[in-house]
Symmetry: C2
Subunit: 146 residues, 2 copies
Amino acid sequence: MRLTTYTDYSLRVLIYLTVHDHKSLAKIQDIADAYQISKNHLMKVVYEMGKRGYLENIRGRNGGLKLAVDPETVNIGTVVREMEEDFHLVECFDCQNNGCIITPACRLKGVLKEALDAYLNVLDQYTLSELVTNRNELRTLLQQNV
Amino acid sequence: MRLTTYTDYSLRVLIYLTVHDHKSLAKIQDIADAYQISKNHLMKVVYEMGKRGYLENIRGRNGGLKLAVDPETVNIGTVVREMEEDFHLVECFDCQNNGCIITPACRLKGVLKEALDAYLNVLDQYTLSELVTNRNELRTLLQQNV
């Protein structure tokens, strides 16, 4: 059971932009270098996060990325729900492609749904700002590869 | 976020064998037909479940599968932990392949671990027998494709 790399990277981008020193805008290349991850993959993530209003992508020579939201208002459960492609724990969670014959009587789906809700409820209790209270320490680590 | 098909099928096999009428042993082909799923894939699942003591695979002309455990003692959380390949929600859960630079200071991992624990704790509250209290209804559905 894994989250997609897409969701993983979204959370990393949010952490990066929150601890960034704000003297200049962040570049996608800097984020890719800091985490040693694919810039191409990151561009898709950043585009989607821009569409969803988490960040602003300012064009031009001095352009770059900045957070478009207050980290105190960014709920981790909401980010994961928005960025994760699906939560189809087992086949019957995917109504359109479900072929499991016992679905009408199966109690497993309800149990798994209850477990998924418990998972998301924990994430709902945290904001982005709570993840970066040690921002100096995070910033130092992020500058190691730049 | 999904469980593997492997875990999905393991749970289906357990449900099938629990509601099976016990007049004869169950055949892998029957389970594949009932759920309309790949027999090859199912053979690997059944082999692993045999190794783990969930079922017995009796050879010979009248051979087949039967549950080797009391459904009241089969904990769903344990089954999912045993059959799911991993729970590497994000890269840093995989110690051997983790390259995320902020790991030493990152608080996200703790939050995701807390969410995963909440998920598994829900599954730990259910046994196989609680999933099949409506066994006649399940049996009828499973006989539709046979």
